[in-house]
């Protein structure tokens, strides 16, 4: 297994007047090809900062991020990023939003674009909603549309920042399972950030727990059988053990 994403000595600080706020310090992470890594941390531990750096959206104050061996200098179309908030263009209908990555990349004919977008909408369960504007959709449907848009660029690495955080519990479970279904067998590498231990254990192959300033307090493989189901997992002894360990790690990390 080779490392797809590698962060070394990453430090990010935001200057303000004569001082700087440090969001991340000496962070190092190596993500293997095809793996599903969940990053667990409490609010304010630098999770989003880390993802922004891994996505190439912001530049680190120090350190480097390499993607497939090459240092990352800006956003890369091979890396998809699903942010916490919806960033669908409100003036484009869902179909045209999903077409957008292909449109920007160019070289794809309009007819081809439409077909790809329609197929993706079908895959995320939004059939027949192509002509709706984002504001006409519910929160869950907008998440699905965002997911479809990210997948339209066919990135090999997916970064997700608490993508289901704002949804109700049932919808979250539904979308988590759909995400796993979409990911399985795709060979894509996923880095999924969350503050929910259960979600982290349900989805990941590997769980990384962040403490303050992005210090890694735990890094473990999750060997639970796939496909996993949340109701069955809750009574699985291995899951219970991991849950306890991670909860302790979270507590330790923030103190």
């Amino acid at each position: 297994m080779t490392a797809v994403l590698q962060a070394e000595r990453l430090t990010k600080q935001f200057a303000k007047d004569d001082s700087a706020i440090v969001a991340l310090r000496d962070f190092a992470l190596s993500v293997e090809e095809g793996s599903f890594v969940t990053v667990l941390g409490r609010s304010g531990c630098g999770k989003s900062t880390m993802l922004n750096l891994l996505a190439g959206l912001t530049e680190p104050t120090e350190g480097t991020v390499s993607h497939r061996g090459k240092p990352l200098t800006g956003p890369d179309i091979d890396i998809g990023y699903l942010t916490q908030s919806d960033t669908l263009m409100p003036w484009r209908d869902v179909q045209r939003n999903v077409e957008m990555p292909l449109e920007i990349r160019g070289g794809v004919r309009a007819k081809e674009r439409r077909r790809t977008a329609a197929a993706l909408l079908n895959r995320v369960g939004l059939d027949g909603f192509g002509k709706h504007y984002p504001r006409e959709l519910s929160g869950g449907m907008r998440r699905r549309a965002s997911l479809a848009r990210m997948l339209a660029g066919s990135p090999s690495t997916l970064l997700m920042d608490e993508p289901f955080g704002a949804l109700d519990a049932q919808l979250r479970t539904e979308l988590q399972e759909e995400l796993l279904r979409l990911w399985q067998g795709s060979g894509q590498t996923v880095v999924f950030v969350t503050h929910d231990i259960e979600e982290a254990l349900l989805l990941g192959d590997r769980i990384v727990v962040l403490g303050a300033l992005g210090r890694i307090v735990a890094d473990e493989r999750i060997t639970l059988q796939r496909p996993r189901h949340v109701d069955a997992l809750r009574v699985d002894p291995e899951f219970v053990r991991l849950h306890t360990t991670m909860a302790a790690a979270l507590k330790e990390g923030s103190s």
Binding site: M100, I104, S138, H229
Partner: protein, 310 residues
């Protein structure tokens, strides 16, 4: 291993507790490959039978009261003119109507209106075009905008009427001067609103395009331009009366044709009916321009929620 067999083929509705709400949502819990099944979650559109009164009752009332208001005001004016007020100063609706008809018949109305309409439209288009482009470009260049901002605000604060004498020196008393005076007013309003629209673009949307590999040009065309349309339209809307002001002030200051000239001419002859008649024509022109911008706005803002379309 039992867990695996269970989750491989989840029975329908397994994920949801069979509460009333979940049952009402129906197929929403169906798995993904079902395709479109999830669409039934969320609001549903149903046909509704309503009487004409339920559908249009309020609109009809509003229009009815408006009409009534006009009739009442005009009648009161008509009755009080000549009894309570001196007709030399206030004229009265019948006299104004008579003057309009007279001007209509001898062609005065159309000749002068046409001149003013041209000035307004050209001035509006010129000012709006230059203002929108300048606002878009300058607001995209962060540093330039910060440097120029105080100067622009200072220029904006100059009463444009005060420019009229200067414009006469530069461009003479022909139509050019009125067009440019109107354009100068319109320019600032459209410029400032466009710039505000550009500067308030959601960073998240810009980042989304960057993540798709978009260049600066992509960001400008696919995010900033559509996002700033709201600002442009606000600018256009508030600029309409100012285009009129610019053109008419220009005519009042120096001209021998146009509605401004007509007002001046009528007033100098103590023909108040003539002054009011011209004002009526001006408000009709303004209303027509408003309708035009409103139509553009409706097309551009189609994506917005109904209550925000204004």
């Amino acid at each position: 291993m039992t867990e695996q067999t269970v989750s491989q083929s989840p029975p329908p509705g397994r994920r949801r507790k069979p509460s009333g709400k979940a049952a009402a949502k129906g197929a929403a819990g169906a798995p993904l490959p079902g395709g479109g099944a999830s669409g039934s979650s969320g609001p549903v559109r149903i046909a509704l039978r309503r009487t004409w009164r339920e559908k249009h009752g309020q609109t009809a009332t509003v229009w009815g009261v408006r009409l009534l208001l006009i009739v009442v005001v005009l009648t009161a004016w008509e009755l009080m003119g000549g009894t309570l007020f001196d007709i030399t100063f206030t004229s009265k609706p019948s006299a104004i109507g008579g003057r309009l008809a007279e001007w209509w018949a001898d062609g005065t109305l159309w000749t002068h209106s046409w001149v003013t309409i041209q000035e307004i439209v050209y001035g509006f288009l010129l000012g709006a075009l230059v203002g929108a482009i300048a606002g878009f470009v300058l607001a995209s260049l962060q540093l330039a905008y910060r440097v120029l901002d105080p100067f622009i605000m200072a220029l904006y604060a100059i009463p444009k009427v005060a420019l009229a004498p200067l414009f006469i020196v530069w461009f003479g008393i022909g139509m050019h001067m009125k067009v440019l005076l109107a354009a100068a007013t319109v320019f600032f309003l459209v410029f400032l609103n466009t710039a505000a629209g550009v500067r308030e673009v959601d960073r998240g949307l810009v980042d989304a395009v960057r993540l798709m590999g978009g260049t600066r040009r992509d960001i400008a065309r696919k995010v900033v331009l559509p996002a700033s349309m709201t600002g442009v339209l606000t600018g256009l809307k508030v600029a309409i009366p100012y285009a009129l002001i610019g053109a008419v002030i220009g005519e009042l200051v120096a001209s021998n044709q146009g509605l401004g000239y007509l007002i001046n001419d009528a007033a100098s002859k103590f023909d108040t009916a003539g002054v009011f008649a011209t004002l009526v024509v001006l408000s009709v022109v303004a209303a027509l321009l408003n309708v035009c911008v409103g139509l553009i706005g409706r097309r551009v803002n189609r994506w917005k929620p109904v209550e925000a379309q204004g």
